[in-house]
């Protein structure tokens, strides 16, 4: 009976992972196709990559997206980290329910609603206080920061709630000030979470189409907006090449990040062991 169950689970896993990975593999394979048709293999070629790098509009859009991603991820870290800290360490305070609501809701809110509501906010603000004047990079960065901050808060919070508070408590008992405790103890301990949160925000910002479309202005076309307008017309080998580059870049980034996280964890464990003499 047990054998039957594990065969069922094995085939479910195989099917599931094939489902997840085969489409991506096909995009990568067909990006090296000589011909323009997706279904006909006409020989190996890298000409679509050359074509892609000659497409100035695409390159401009890619730079816009990278700049927006860097700024949004950094700002999201600055706002999401205290939010995560508040959720896991500050206990009860007035307005906590609303606070946790404002962190959980952006995670599931449909993009069209977030995009429309932010655009209407920016238009209203411009009417009332004259800022932000028009729409462009600034409004996209604000929009991305808002939903990315919610993700950072959740990542930081889950790291903090799985963490031992005894070191922080000991420091507090010995009279260390809260700011000092945060920068000397809490911050180094949540560093992997901060890195994960930043990376997650960066990729979410790089990936967003719907919200950017609502709050973008002239001259702030992002990469997904550019991709979307050409994909609407059908499959193009140039997009396959772009997709391959994005997939490779993100995979490399994630592998590097996870190696760094693992190394810092190991180092921490070793240091704690040396400092306290307690193994583990």
């Amino acid at each position: 009976m047990n054998g039957k169950r594990s065969i069922f689970l094995m085939s479910a896993l195989c099917f599931g992972f094939a489902f997840l990975y085969v489409p991506i593999m096909l995009v990568i394979i067909y990006s090296f196709n000589e011909g323009k048709l997706v279904t006909v293999w006409a020989g190996f070629s890298t000409k679509w990559y050359v074509e892609l790098f000659r497409d100035d509009a695409m390159i401009d859009a890619a730079w816009n997206s990278l700049r927006i991603g860097l700024m949004s991820a950094t700002l999201a870290l600055a706002i999401g980290t205290p939010a995560g800290l508040v959720m896991s360490r500050f206990g009860r305070f007035r307005g906590r329910t609303m606070f946790s609501g404002m962190i959980a809701a952006p995670l599931v809110m449909p993009d069209v609603i977030t995009g429309l509501s932010l655009l209407l906010l920016f238009v209203t603000m411009e009417q009332l206080v004259g800022w932000p004047a028009g729409r462009g990079m600034t409004t996209i960065v604000i929009a991305h920061t808002t939903f990315c901050a919610a993700y950072v808060a959740v990542v930081v919070q889950s790291r903090l709630s799985g963490m031992d508070t005894s070191i922080e408590e000991a420091a507090m008992d010995l009279g260390a000030k809260p700011t000092k405790i945060f920068f000397l103890i809490t911050l180094p301990m949540i560093l992997p979470a901060l890195m994960a949160g930043w990376l997650l925000s960066f990729t979410l910002s790089l990936d967003d189409l719907v919200i950017s479309s609502f709050v973008a202005g002239p001259g702030s076309t992002t990469l997904p907006m550019k991709v979307f307008s050409s994909v609407r017309l059908g499959v193009s080998p140039e997009i396959n090449a772009l997709a391959t580059l994005i997939i490779i870049a993100i995979s490399v980034l994630i592998i590097i990040a996870s190696i760094l996280v693992m190394r810092s964890e190991r180092q921490r464990a070793r240091q704690v062991q040396e400092d306290t003499g307690i193994p583990g």
């Binding site: 489409p23 609603i113 609407r232």
Partner: protein, 309 residues
């Protein structure tokens, strides 16, 4: 000796102890309040306005006239949504498509999550990584990948026709089936991860005891594993269902012109018809339906965050 004037640093420290807490709560609170909560109030306001050829393209709700404030609330947008069967069917369609996709995602995701939770140490981490990795790669590209597969001239049709199984290409893209495939594909990691975290925490001894006492494996699963993993099922389903209701990219790229979904309707009202008030009332109508699932999601999210409660 000790009662000399406090240095700047000491004063700063004292100030931080007194006000630091407020500062740490205040920054994210203000940001989210201004850029997440206030916008909804503005959407609500504009949903009661009238469309105008002006900049911005809607009428003002409050106007200062001689005898005071003139309030012009227009319920017409909502009446229009109710009177036009297009909006109602888009609404119902979205809910139906999102619900069916959620069930399919659960049926594929549950055995996968179960399999990962049962795997040994390093294999488990590798499998988990493999689930998370597609979540990091671009959503748009993952939807795009299916165009090449499902299209009339796509890979499925090419393969089936090449093997002489069919003589006419199947129409898969531009149907509802393609939308189901797209939603299940892009949201699968969101289902697997919460399921995995409840299944992984589960106490295996209960199941062992049931099996030792002669319980049939399927019955043990139905009476022990399934109820215990209910929080994961709920969290995963909500993480798939709520965004799927408002999905725009998937029905736009994979669905046909007849695949009406509310997110797509909102997009068209805004970008093609430039009718901001109608777009706002569509958003409010969608939110009214989603408010209960969103609050429920927040409730379970809160419970998992704070196990002491």
């Amino acid at each position: 000796m000790s009662d000399i004037k406090p240095t700047l640093k000491q004063r700063f420290d004292r100030w931080m102890i007194r006000h630091g807490r407020v500062l740490v709560i205040g920054l994210p609170y203000l940001w989210l309040f201004l850029f997440f909560l206030v916008p909804f109030l503005i959407v609500l306001k504009i949903s009661f306005a009238t469309a105008q050829y002006a900049q911005p393209p809607y009428s003002a709700l409050f106007q200062w006239v001689d005898e005071g404030v003139n309030i012009a609330i227009n319920f017409g947008n909502y009446l229009f949504l109710l009177s036009d069967s297009l909006y109602i069917s888009a609404y119902l369609n979205s809910i139906r498509i999102a619900a069916i996709s959620t069930v399919i995602t659960l049926l594929i995701g549950y055995p996968m999550a179960y399999g990962i939770a049962r795997a040994k140490g390093s294999t488990r981490n590798l499998l988990l990584m493999l689930v998370i990795l597609p979540f990091w790669t671009s959503f748009l590209i993952r939807v795009y990948a299916w165009i090449g597969i499902l299209d009339r001239e796509g890979l499925i049709n090419a393969a089936l026709m090449g093997l002489h199984i069919i003589s006419e290409p199947l129409i898969i893209r531009q149907t509802e089936v393609a939308v189901y495939i797209g939603i299940v594909y892009t949201y699968l990691p969101f289902m697997i991860l919460p399921l995995y975290s409840t299944l992984e925490k589960m106490d295996g001894s209960l199941l062992e005891a049931a099996l030792d006492l002669g319980c049939k494996p399927w019955k043990a699963f139905a009476t022990i594993t399934l109820p215990l993993s209910l929080p994961g099922i709920l969290a995963g389903s909500l993480l798939v269902f709520i965004p799927a209701v408002g999905e725009f990219v998937i029905p736009e790229l994979l669905g046909g012109p007849n695949t009406l979904m509310i997110g797509r309707t909102l997009w068209n009202e805004f970008f093609s018809n430039r009718d901001w008030p109608i777009a706002s009332s569509v958003a409010i109508a969608m939110l009214i339906f989603l408010v209960v699932p969103i609050m429920y999601f927040q409730h379970i999210q809160g419970k998992t965050e704070d196990p002491g409660k």
